[in-house]
């Protein structure tokens, strides 16, 4: 069994005076694709932001391969190997596609450079013909691809994807799913936050379910598939 890439332990997060997360804990191992499932407002995005250092936790810790990274600034966390694709994608709309990628470029935490731009275009063949297009003019699906590609340019050890299917047409969602399966097949470690359970069932290896800021369930994906009660209680739309 391989080691945990990331361990989240007992996180409390507040926005102002209201508490959003209550003792959230989860872990993702090397090569896994972990789905963090939950309804809208359950605390998925906040968990992602807390891991990334964008919503600093008041209690608890996040460790990356054993090193505590909670309390660090986002750019340090990113350099340590976390790659974050936010839920609204947040591409730089006035830059070209290639400029977006260039901005994301950095060496991995061990100095690896597994994602040169050539390989990005191989994995994201859609983006290559658009490379000089202004990113703000891309379609939602293209922007999502770009956001993922941009983060991969930074050679992350762990990819955090926040709601990659949100607001996209089913056919595009399907294409993104294929892409993620491809990433999984090449051994990438991914934590993906989704409310679209069906999207995740096909590509995740493990699942954690969050509700009202608390983790309520964690298991292998097949187990979740089998557990109707949990699915109905926490994930049904």
């Amino acid at each position: 069994m391989s080691e945990a890439v990331i361990e989240v332990d007992d996180l409390d997060v507040y926005y102002g005076t209201s508490q959003i997360l209550f003792g959230v804990g989860l872990s993702v191992r090397q090569g896994e694709t972990m789905a963090l499932l939950g309804r809208n407002g359950a605390g998925k995005s906040t968990t992602m932001k807390a891991i990334m250092g964008l919503a600093p936790p008041r209690r608890g810790k996040v460790s990356l391969r054993g090193a505590v990274i909670s309390g660090w600034q986002p750019h340090h966390i990113a350099r340590a190997g976390l790659g974050f694709v936010p839920e609204d994608r947040q591409i730089f709309p006035e830059h070209s596609v290639e400029d977006n990628l260039v901005i994301g470029r950095k060496k991995g935490p061990e100095g690896q450079d597994e994602w040169p731009i050539k390989r990005i275009y191989e994995v994201f063949p859609l983006l290559e013909p658009l490379r000089y297009r202004i990113a703000g003019r891309l379609s939602g699906g293209e922007q999502q691809m770009l956001a993922i590609a941009r983060t991969l340019m930074g050679n992350p050890a762990l990819l955090l994807l926040d709601e990659p299917s949100e607001g996209l047409a089913p056919i595009i969602v399907q294409r993104i799913g294929e892409l993620l399966r491809q990433l999984r097949s090449i051994g990438s470690t991914v934590l993906i936050a989704e409310q679209n359970m069906h999207f995740c069932l096909g590509l995740a290896s493990h699942a954690t379910v969050i509700d009202k800021g608390q983790i309520v369930y964690a298991a292998g994906i097949d187990e979740l598939k089998a557990n109707d009660a949990i699915r109905r209680r926490y994930l049904a739309l």
Binding site: P74, H75, A78, F92, I103, G104, R105, K106, G154
Partner: protein, 300 residues
Amino acid sequence: MDLDALAGCLSSSACLVTQTTSGLIIGMLLFLVAVGLTLIFGVLKVVNFSHGAFYMFGAYFAMAAYQLTGSFALAMLAGAAGTAILGLIFERVFMSRVYGADVLMQLLVCYAFVLIFDDVVRIIWGPEFKSMGMPSAFQVMPLFIAGGVVPPYYLLLIGVALVAAIVLGAGLSRTRIGKVIRAAAHNPGMVSALGINTGLIYGGVFALGGMLAGLAGALAAPVRSLTPGMGFSVLIESFIVTVIGGMGSILGALIGALLLGLIRSFGSLGFPLFTEGLMYLFMVIVLVSKPTGLFGKEAA
């Protein structure tokens, strides 16, 4: 009003060349100061009210270095590098604490430093005005182009400012760091999530802005008298430039600065007693018809 003089000038090539270059000179120097102001606003969203102080320090640093070494190049370097360091420290130690705060708080911090910097200069260099003196290499006869008079030093000045404008423009659009800076202007949170230290970017941009103002001060030192508070009128003018051009727009700063330079050079012919008022009038007209300035974008 003296519209005959203006008309007379517009119909004479000698006058046209001389006044146009004189507008360019005023404009380009103003551009160097204003572009730093606009850059800092664009990226940090801070109206750097202490920008004039960097211009002042640039001039004083240049004078000090020139007196010490006698080298004009070193003087320019001292003006630019000294203010860059000063800008970095100023941003990291003080300004970085008021990001996201009320605009008025930021203004207040800048205002505090305007007061402090002016007094610091007064303590170090004294209250009397100083002059750096023109390096002997430039103490030559002016050139005559199409009957118009153009001094060589001003050609250098325009050249340096143009190079700065081109390097800056190209740097921001072509280099990775430039792209990152523009991205940080738009979405600093995302930039930092991609592993880039935005604090460093902010500090760097502030240093760059300070350096440009300092360079302008250094370039102006041989022809303008140095005195505590000298940055003030320059600040006001570059303020007008950025507001006319659009806060945050580099092209806007360039166009705004040149427009202002030309208003002054031709305005002094046609409206010798209301040249200053002409600038404010122009600003009011631009703002009323397009509040974000000529090249400004609607605030996101």
